[in-house]
Symmetry: D2
Subunit: 297 residues, 4 copies
């Protein structure tokens, strides 16, 4: 298939590479063109602008946030203007439900197709084609995409005919991760103040009921107070919790834990910690408990 791929960050690199390796003709575009070099060596073609990546049957976007997606989608030289009627825009970025709705409307009006396919997984999973794809869109739009999703991920979940619902599921997942960070941070502060070794405690959790990747990853960071470099920055975590709350407000669903998380993130950001890993929420808990940074048992 002729595929465009826009956005070659840590995630997009791996996804695009797997599409190339599977034999598709892939035209890639990134604002900083040097990100395309490795993919060109693999066999991809580099486009010099957004429109250049919109000449095929499908174009993926995998970008940082709403603003970046808006920038490549709308406007005179954007995807909506460039894509052929009947071709499909697959949005894999973690974006707001509201923007996903706008994308659906814009492509529909232009006679194009649109699907949302955000993913769960970190850059290593993207490189290893082990992502989980959360797909939503009309059945006839998703059907031809299924083989592509199989190339980039280990499993695809089709959650709705409405594309934006996939974005909601993705945001809810990030909300759940943040809630694990907060809860584990509270529990660690509690037992650490009683003299329990932070790492041993996390080992107990992850050996027993909480033997899940997310507890292992974030429990370790919290135990070691290792907040730099950020795997996922607090500022981005705050953004995703905010987007989850915004979608929930539209749906009239109160989310008390998400509200609490939003306040914690704001406190962290106001203290200058927006660049830290989002597990740095636990530093606030330690501070509020009167645990100095070197009290670690």
């Amino acid at each position: 298939m002729d595929i465009g791929f826009i956005g070659l960050g840590n995630m997009g690199q791996g996804m695009a590479a797997n599409l190339v390796k599977a034999g598709h003709r892939v035209t890639v575009y990134n604002r900083s063109p040097e990100k395309a070099e490795g993919l060109v060596e693999l066999g991809a073609t580099a486009a010099s602008n957004v429109a250049g990546a919109c000449t095929g049957d499908v174009v993926f976007t995998m970008l940082a946030d709403d603003q970046a997606v808006e920038a490549v989608t709308f406007g005179e030289h954007g995807i909506v203007a460039a894509l052929a009627p009947g071709a499909t825009h697959v949005s894999s970025s973690t974006i707001s439900v509201a923007l996903s709705e706008r994308l659906a409307a814009a492509h529909a009006e232009a006679g194009q197709r649109y699907a949302a396919a955000p993913v769960f997984g970190r850059p290593e999973a993207a490189a290893a084609a082990k992502l989980f794809v959360i797909a939503a869109g009309e059945a006839q739009v998703l059907q031809p995409l299924a083989p592509l999703f199989d190339v980039i991920g280990q499993r695809t979940f089709v959650v709705s005919e409405q594309p934006h619902t996939a974005n909601l599921v993705k945001l809810s997942g990030n909300f759940l991760i943040a809630s694990v960070i907060e809860s584990v941070g509270e529990a660690v502060a509690l037992v650490a103040k009683a003299g329990v070794d932070r790492q041993q405690y996390v080992d107990i959790l992850t050996s027993t009921l909480f033997a899940a990747p997310v507890y292992q990853t974030y429990g370790g960071l919290i135990a070691r107070r290792e907040f730099e470099p950020a795997g996922f920055a607090a500022r981005l975590g705050m953004k995703d919790v905010r987007l989850a709350l915004a979608a929930a407000e539209q749906l009239e669903v109160p989310l008390p834990v998400a509200s609490l998380l939003r306040d914690r993130f704001l406190t962290l950001v106001a203290a200058g910690g927006g660049h830290l890993d989002w597990s740095a929420l636990s530093a606030l808990t330690d501070r509020d408990a009167g645990l100095a940074s070197d009290d670690s048992a």
Copy 2:
């Protein structure tokens, strides 16, 4: 070793049976004596009162709550009165930090030894000797107990020389489970109101970042709204969160998520749901979101 075992509920049954099977001489006691029958068949001796189970080197207690432990420990015919100097009381119940401190003091005053050894795991794990034992106490007290812990569990974590710290760790674990119930309940309500199938959503979570027993167990109950019969009653969940908060208050550690959980449990109990499984917290979230019980997608 000569071992007493007081409290033959779902957990105590399995633990005592494994001690018998390992060749120890076990004298068991339960307020309702019929609970001892199966163990007697296995080779245990049934005592007719608490003191009768306190004639050996060690006596375990595995009871429902503080009140039950106080009832067998203190008073004219209690463990403190009956146990020989130098013998050890091993408290495996989920009790308050404050009571554990009182037990330690009372046994010390009587020239006896005391260790706390609460466990993680459900009745099936107790029967299969697959519990995780969270032990705390002085080294010389714990050392001779190690083989016993190996008999009832798959792994022992020694967390402190102060017995009550093990109780704190146990309580913190139940707090974390409750926080998972609340967060997952919120996320399910959010996506369900957008039309996503509840069970599919839980499958996504447990296939990806949240592939942990606790998410599988409680996610399933939340998706199916299956709150009866209770695996662990909301009233007990509320009690444990309250005990975690009480211990945290003593240590001067704020726990915002635990505070929120306490309010949710109170709301559930005030609505007459104290007997339901603690995953019924999610029913409140559904209600607050305006999701009727049969809106399940």
Copy 3:
């Protein structure tokens, strides 16, 4: 002075009337023209469109929300298009900080002046010229407005040179009222469940430390569970709390009580109570406490 006045709801009626009575030449406009009739009898002139109310030195807007203010301000026939260079738009509506910033920018670009002057007080206070005016803007803009503010209110507070800061102060006031509603609702539920008479309890509060209008008004509504007709609808209360939170997020200020209020309003709205008076938040507290509507002691 030649003054335009757009928005003749309960508040705008009284404000415009007082400007007429003070001898100003006032041209009024309202989407439903019959609202202008009484004012015309007093001596005002009725304009047939927005532009017709923008021919003088100053135009006030007193409208329901952001949308209504945007509708009369922007576009081909809006205030920005119609107002003379050097003339001033005084925005008295309770609008978002963000919209106030946009208004300031738009008028600046058009060579016009802009001030924000939201008010505290209910319709009766507007009629009696007893409002409190919260004004913000550049000194040279505010100076000539001072006599007008004196005509509509009993006191003017100049809070900033940046107009949008007055909107923030107004939103913060509505947040504080909502927090009184929530707290008093909790206290009333607590003592009522112990058998104290709801009205007597509110009388105690308002006779002692809480002898303020807001406690008298809302305490009474909460005690009597009198939520219809709405003096100020829950949906509007939710909107203002949301706008306060949005402004706080921009400023990086966490507001935990406001977050809690937002969740409560969402719960009320999801239950179909958006049209009730915002004091109906207390109905949720009663319900969560297991107090049926007729449990009132």
Copy 4:
């Protein structure tokens, strides 16, 4: 009437003095005897122990907390042991609902009478006989006390036949004050970060909807960040919120704002601020907003 008065702190001094001035024979007792000197000059008799103040018809206690009240009430030389059958203990201290229930039971068993009569008002109000008395007890117990309440206060509210209900009302009042401190602290942080003068903002509040003593007192302290010396220490505020939550838990009433306050007080106390005025909660809000202590506009 022959009256004993135990507890001659800032509040008790004024209350006892007013009883003396009204012509009653008052025997006073305080652990530190020098506190009795001024009252003796007024005409009171100083007792050398608790029992010495229990020889009349009525004995008041006005002490700091549960512990102090327990210390004078129970035991060989306590009030229960010393008071004549038919005589009345009037407890005016701010104590727990649970202790008030124990006091009622103990006096009933001893054939004595018991009433709870906590008060609203500060030391100046106690001196000026301007307190508000919240009384509860059986009608025949309260009736002869009415003239005494009239001597110490400006108004008496009888809220229940069950004495402990008066204690609940008192605790609920302190909860409401704390909620004002928290909410106003949040609002001040919000507008201050936008450049509004803190004191001016409080002036606006207290000139308009919030013209109540509690907003004037605490708003001023928050604006000026004047937390020492404490009028009412954060540690005591935390205690009262905790007692309100404990009573609410018994009654199965969730109080989300009180839960939030408890966490804030714990944070303040953990940071070493337990001795500060409880309005220092606002210092946490300022800190969380990234407002340094000298950012005050």
